[in-house]
């Protein structure tokens, strides 16, 4: 009451929601909520043993969370949803500090997080990445593992907002006050959608504002299809509030297997992961960041040798443009994203990093 009294007229007020119907949420597993600490310790002991056998060190984290949220409004909206999430990630490093490998996985049902397999991948990468050779910065063809693609997704996801585009301060703002909805900005094989009922990556079936979430498509076959409207902005622009996004899913019906992605590259780099990714220029979603924990030189379709890490400065719009996407691999879950590995014609690295 006091806040209301001292505030200027709230020009962006929207009444609280009334009764609405929400989809059932399937993102809760008792196995995650009731995880046994002793069993978890045993699983981690196996990972630590794998590290010791290979003569590498390991540092990682295993998490299991469960939450319940209940919302009630004066106008009669009632919703209650439980969700859970299990995740494991580990970085294995050679004891001399010349090799480092990372692997991760997550699922709402912790039994689907294969701790042993994740540990094996990290150890294998640590062993194979030792004694990297220097490489000149420049624009190279790349294969990005799904993890690396997920590491770049945050700023793209953040640009899906009608208001900032309408206000002229988004990568999806056009000239003369328009937006870029309807333009073919991306490779025609790329579709990005949100679906609270996705089997692997289910989400809370309501937006942050309480709008019942539905499957919505943001990018359809390379075309920017829609920008989400908040309740306020929808009212301003005589639109319906957008029932999402609550997750970001990019997958293709017939992905190219990882081996074939690499086999199809004449010369280029294989990237495990990006780090310290930051938005440099929101106008074109230019990101900077560095490779980390496994970077290899590929020649004639074969992984040849590890190379030193590099810093990149790269526009996500250019990266996913029709002329740049060569092949699309299988998608992996990295909540709230589910994204594929990609082979790209060009990716711009701007400086060397001594870090391992």
């Amino acid at each position: 009451m006091q806040i209301a009294r001292v505030s200027p007229v709230h020009r962006e007020y929207v009444p609280t929601l009334g009764p609405l119907t929400y989809q059932e949420s399937n993102g809760f597993a008792d196995a995650t909520a009731d995880i046994d600490v002793a069993a978890r310790a045993l699983a981690l002991r196996d990972v630590l043993a794998a590290c010791r056998e290979a003569g590498v060190g390991g540092a990682g984290v295993h998490t299991a969370t469960a939450s319940a949220v209940a919302v009630a409004t004066a106008n009669g909206n009632r919703r209650y949803v439980r969700s859970s999430e299990g995740a494991f990630s580990v970085t294995a490093r050679s004891t001399d500090g010349t090799g480092s490998g990372y692997s991760a996985g997550d699922h709402f049902d912790v039994r689907r997080v294969d701790v042993a397999a994740i540990g094996r991948r990290a150890v294998d990468k640590a062993v194979r990445s030792q004694a990297p050779r220097p490489i000149e910065p420049g624009t190279y063809p790349v294969v990005l593992e799904a993890q690396a693609v997920a590491d770049l997704m945050g700023s793209l996801a953040g640009a899906f907002d009608a208001r900032t585009a309408d206000e002229g301060r988004s990568a999806f703002s056009g000239k003369d006050g328009k937006t870029r909805v309807g333009e073919t900005l991306f490779d025609s094989r790329l579709t990005l959608y949100s679906d609270p009922a996705h089997l692997e990556l289910p989400a809370v079936p309501a937006t942050d504002e309480g709008i019942p979430a539905e499957r919505i498509t943001l990018i359809r076959e390379g075309v920017l299809e829609r920008l989400p409207y908040s309740r306020f902005w929808a009212a301003e622009r005589t639109q319906a509030p957008t029932p999402g996004p609550v997750n970001f899913i990019m997958e293709v019906a017939k992905p190219t297997p990882m081996g074939a992605l690499i086999a199809g590259m004449t010369r280029g780099l294989l990237v495990t992961r990006f780090w310290y990714v930051r938005l440099v220029d929101p106008r074109t979603i230019v990101l900077t960041g560095l490779t980390r924990d496994g970077l290899w030189w590929v020649e004639d379709g074969q992984v040849r040798h590890p190379v030193r890490n590099l810093r990149f400065n790269q526009s996500v719009l250019t990266m996913l443009a029709p002329w740049n996407v060569e092949a699309i691999g299988p998608s992996e879950r990295r909540a709230p994203f589910m994204v594929p590995s990609l082979r790209l014609a060009g990716f711009t690295f701007t400086s060397r990093s001594d870090a391992i």
């Binding site: 009451m1 006091q2 806040i3 001292v6 505030s7 200027p8 709230h10 020009r11 962006e12 600490v37 310790a41 981690l44 002991r45 630590l48 060190g57 540092a59 990682g60 984290v61 998490t63 939450s67 949220v69 990630s89 580990v90 970085t91 490093r93 480092s100 206000e167 002229g168 301060r169 703002s173 000239k175 003369d176 006050g177 780090w275 310290y276 930051r278 938005l279 440099v280 220029d281 106008r283 074109t284 230019v286 900077t288 960041g289 560095l290 980390r292 890490n309 810093r311 990149f312 400065n313 790269q314 250019t318 711009t348 701007t350 400086s351 060397r352 990093s353 001594d354 870090a355 391992i356």
Partner: protein, 527 residues
């Protein structure tokens, strides 16, 4: 007993306003949480004593507990609209135990004797599980046993200032920036934090502390809808360990007007020509460079690999201590948890070690680390520098950054003096995009406002510039420092580290400094 209800508003009214955001894990009663008086002090003391005694009985060789209460008030506005007002409170206790040389931890929002016993049992069980996996035992350095209290310096308690006063300040700030022709948007926030911390250890220390922080910040934006172009000028790094007097005394409106003019100029600025430049880096940008390249590389837990999976490791190794050349001989970098106004300033750290001040880099040579009681013995030291911190009663305390500051020149040198020695250079002010590798070698930093320096004179603004270097090369290229009068203390309020992630507030003081022949990218053309 002093009632600390917000501005005399009843709790029922407060919740009904829709402004309250009380997290699920916190006690539901604002009034109960914020009461500070003999009854709650007695309850926390009793719970702490029982927890420590129970842990000892169950086999802990060492235990400590933090019984903490936090209040936060956050107010967000844009242009002439109030976007959000939220107040949250959180109280509880977190117990840490050492059993067979391994840590266990348990926490609860119920500060009472029965819960204290439960926590002791849970923490000891966890410690035993950890001990079975551990290959080395934790050894703690000794520390003084103290029974004391400490309060950070502030003149006006922000939680006693009426909400309408705060809103009026923000809306006037916004109006001041919006009055500059060409400014399209402005957003501004005030955040206040009040921490009541009680620490007790099985060594015998009992420490009560109160810390008050004030965080004003704003961002101006100019958009050219015809060309589809836009630029922003953030002013977001001025938080300090002070009270509301900071809002009243500092010339915020002059800064808002200046930021308005700057963002309009930035929209029309020419794009930088990439190449090598001499740089004068203002404290408003250099503090962030110090944070990333010095603050994080001198964290001993990183160097030892504890954070390898997320934050990363360090290019510095224990064997480098005392002889690795970190920078030019004029570079002195000091860690200090007692610096007035510093966000990481405290009386005692979260394991009862008194605030310390020490050199990390002396005369350009790397000489020491950030340590805790657990870390110090691992580099042969017998005392902790006092860097243990938990961001909540529910968080496991772990090593966090102290204030790390670049010392000014002994004599008065101005920013203009530094520029006067440059034929072709850039003056870099404010926060831009920052990114640094996981060993803290390769960094790339932008700036909010970047101007050309030609023949010693500061000139027109440029955009799309970022400087990129390698930590030891960059600090080696430093050949000029501002004097004591040019020294400023800037801070970052949400430094992230750890898994699960915790935040830390930390300040970095510095004068402007000159760096020679540094690579500058054009970020608009690099990709």
């Amino acid at each position: 007993m002093r009632g600390m209800q917000p501005d005399g508003v009843s709790r029922r009214h407060f919740l009904a306003s829709g402004g309250a955001l009380v997290a699920g894990s916190t006690l539901p009663d604002w009034a109960e949480i914020v009461q500070v008086g003999p009854s709650t002090d007695a309850a926390r003391t009793e719970a702490a004593e029982v927890a420590l005694a129970e842990a000892s009985k169950l086999g802990a060789s060492y235990a400590d507990i933090r019984v903490n209460r936090y209040r936060r008030e956050s107010i967000a506005t844009r242009e002439q609209q109030v976007q959000n007002v939220s107040r949250s409170a959180s109280a509880g206790m977190g117990l840490r135990v050492l059993v067979n040389g391994a840590w266990g931890f348990a926490a609860s929002n119920r500060v009472e004797v029965a819960t204290a016993r439960t926590l002791a049992a849970e923490a000891v069980t966890m410690a035993r599980a950890h001990a079975a996996l551990a290959t080395a035992k934790v050894v703690l350095t000794p520390t003084d046993v103290v029974k004391t209290s400490w309060t950070s310096a502030f003149r006006r308690d922000p939680f006693e200032v009426p909400l309408d006063t705060k809103l009026a300040f923000l809306l006037k700030l916004n109006a001041t920036a919006m009055a500059v022709p060409g400014v399209s948007f402005v957003s501004s926030q005030l955040l206040f934090v009040d921490e009541h911390k009680y620490f007790a250890s099985s060594d015998g220390s009992r420490i009560a502390q109160r810390l008050v922080r004030t965080y004003p910040q704003f961002t101006t934006t100019a958009a050219d809808r015809a060309r589809g172009d836009f630029q922003s000028r953030p002013v977001v790094d001025r938080a300090q360990l002070v009270g509301y007097e900071y809002v009243e005394d500092y010339p915020w409106f002059a800064d808002a007007e200046k930021a308005g003019h700057e963002v309009v100029e930035k929209l029309k600025a020419t794009s930088v020509t990439a190449g090598r430049y001499d740089l004068v880096v203002d404290p408003s940008q250099l503090f962030l460079c110090i944070h990333e390249s010095v603050g994080h590389s001198t964290e001993l837990d990183r160097a030892l690999g504890y954070e390898a999976n997320m934050a990363g490791t360090s290019f510095l190794r224990p064997a480098d201590t005392g002889h690795l050349r970190f920078g030019a001989s004029i570079v002195n970098l000091v860690a200090d948890r007692s610096q007035p106004g510093g966000l990481a300033t405290t009386g005692y750290d979260d394991e009862g070690v008194k605030a310390d001040r020490w050199h990390l880099v002396r005369d350009g040579v790397f000489v020491d680390w950030q340590t805790t009681r657990e870390l110090a013995p691992l580099v042969g030291q017998s005392r902790s520098h006092g860097c243990l911190h938990a961001d909540s009663w529910a968080s496991v305390p772990f090593p966090r950054m102290p204030n790390v500051s670049l010392q000014p020149a002994a004599t008065e040198v101005t920013r203009d003096d530094l520029c006067s020695g440059i034929a072709r250079g850039l003056l870099i002010e404010g926060r831009g995009v920052s990114s640094i590798d996981q060993q803290r070698y390769n960094f790339q930093f932008g700036g909010a406002v970047i101007r050309e320096i030609r023949n010693g004179k500061v000139g027109a603004m440029v955009k799309d510039a970022a400087y990129q270097s390698r930590t030891p090369d960059f600090w080696a290229s430093c050949d000029g420092l501002g004097g004591p009068a040019s020294y400023r203390l800037w801070g970052t309020s949400a430094d992230g580290k750890g898994e699960p992630g915790q935040i830390n507030a930390v300040s970095h003081g510095c004068p402007p400094a000159r760096f020679r022949n540094v690579t500058v990218l054009n970020t608009a053309s690099a990709s």
